[in-house]
């Protein structure tokens, strides 16, 4: 093919103009999509959530976590001297000091009661969960009713989800959660045969009692709380009990500035 310098430059010029046009067109389209995603709260479908009334939660009471951990076969790792083994700790629902649960809502001259208050914390079952975005095997996923669930069968133990979760709601099984006998979880509790245990090398967290919801039961922590401090329901149903509590109380979420959209609300 016979081509001189002049023709080549002409073609190259036309080509680069077309290229620039395509790039700017993509930019315009992408901008439109970006704007569309920032509309106000979408309330279609079901979004299960919880309200925790921390005022009703008595000091020293751990009934919610005891009940949850015993029905879900959550192991209780202990060191040789029987003190809690914090490096291997596994927790689904537990109590955290106020300033740890709400670091961005703690300041100077806080009320005495808030300073000393312990807040029940659990997986927030976020509207846009960062753990689900990073999971490479889709072992953790968001169900259509808003529950962020784990498929323990698929978890490869990479712990990306633990790094992504801003609430520390996920725990990793560094050790076999079962005793050698296979009949008890670590810590000495008998295994609840209604629910599986986990194996070494998987991540676990609160499942909002998906197995109980399937039987039309409330989550165990909600049912067993002696003070009625926990309320569970559909956040998207304007007539639900949880919505009436949200309407009539000032509630806060944990780290809402991160944009995960937590479905667990707190009355402080």
């Amino acid at each position: 093919m016979d081509e001189n310098r002049r023709d080549f430059l002409k073609k190259a010029g036309v080509g680069s103009l077309v290229g620039l046009g395509v790039v700017s067109a993509i930019g315009v389209i992408a901008e439109k999509e970006g704007k569309a995603s920032t509309v106000s709260e979408d309330t279609s479908g079901t979004r299960l959530g919880m309200v925790v009334d921390t005022r009703k939660c008595p000091e020293g009471c751990t009934i919610c976590s005891e009940v949850c951990h015993s029905i879900h076969n959550v192991p209780d790792f202990r060191q040789a001297d029987r003190s809690p083994d914090l490096k291997h700790e596994i927790k689904w629902i537990w109590k955290e000091p106020y300033h740890n649960a709400f670091p961005s809502k703690s300041g100077a001259f806080m009320s005495e009661s808030l300073l000393s208050r312990k807040v029940a914390v659990l997986c927030n079952h976020c509207k846009s969960p960062s753990c689900v975005r990073v999971c490479p095997t889709q072992a953790t996923f968001k169900r259509s009713d808003g529950i962020v669930l784990m498929d323990f069968h698929r978890c490869i133990g990479c712990r990306f989800c633990m790094a992504a979760c801003p609430y520390g709601s996920r725990s990793f099984n560094w050790q076999d959660p079962r005793e050698e006998s296979g009949k008890q979880v670590k810590g000495g509790k008998d295994i609840n045969p209604e629910f599986p245990t986990r194996e070494r090398g998987v991540v676990e967290k609160c499942n909002f009692c998906a197995e109980r919801l399937a039987k039309n039961l409330k989550p165990a922590c909600v049912e067993k709380c002696p003070e009625g401090a926990l309320t569970f329901g559909d956040l998207n149903n304007p007539n639900s009990e949880i919505r009436s509590i949200l309407k009539s109380n000032n509630t806060i979420q944990r780290k809402p500035e991160l944009g995960t959209g937590p479905s667990v609300f707190y009355i402080v």
């Binding site: 996923f141 069968h153 245990t197 194996e199």
Partner: protein, 129 residues
């Protein structure tokens, strides 16, 4: 060829040793295990279907229960409804009929050298020995 006798004899011995696993097991074959079913009645599908497809069915059940919250299986053959559950105490589940894991599951799994990891997490039923 030098030392032909030694070489040929050596080759015969070598081939004999290498193929020992083949001819050594002739006549001493292990019988195909027959899983022991303790209860009468029917499974969710016919025994032939279950024998061929139980592994696939359990995988499908697992995904449907965990991901879609779809917990009821309608039998293709009998039209009855069953709870999709491998091992759940007191309720209808695979292991409530087939409670003899060692004779029912393990005998075939050992024979075919497959090691499913069900029991790493799910609780096997207590066996009366």
């Amino acid at each position: 060829m030098y030392d032909a006798g030694k070489i040929i004899a050596g080759l015969v011995i070598f081939v004999g040793i290498v193929t020992y696993p083949i001819w050594g097991s002739i006549g001493s074959s292990v019988n195909v295990p027959v899983p022991v079913v303790k209860t009468s009645g029917t499974c969710v599908e016919s025994a032939e279907y279950m024998r061929a497809n139980h592994m696939q069915m359990l995988n499908e059940w697992r995904d449907e229960v965990v991901r879609d919250n779809n917990r009821v299986y309608v039998s293709q053959q009998y039209g009855k409804e069953f709870e999709k559950s491998l091992s759940s105490a007191g309720k209808a589940s695979c292991m409530s009929c087939h409670s003899n894991k060692a004779e029912f599951c393990d005998s075939c799994h050992n024979y075919t050298a497959v090691t499913p990891y069900c029991w790493e997490c799910h609780l096997e039923p207590k066996e009366e020995i």
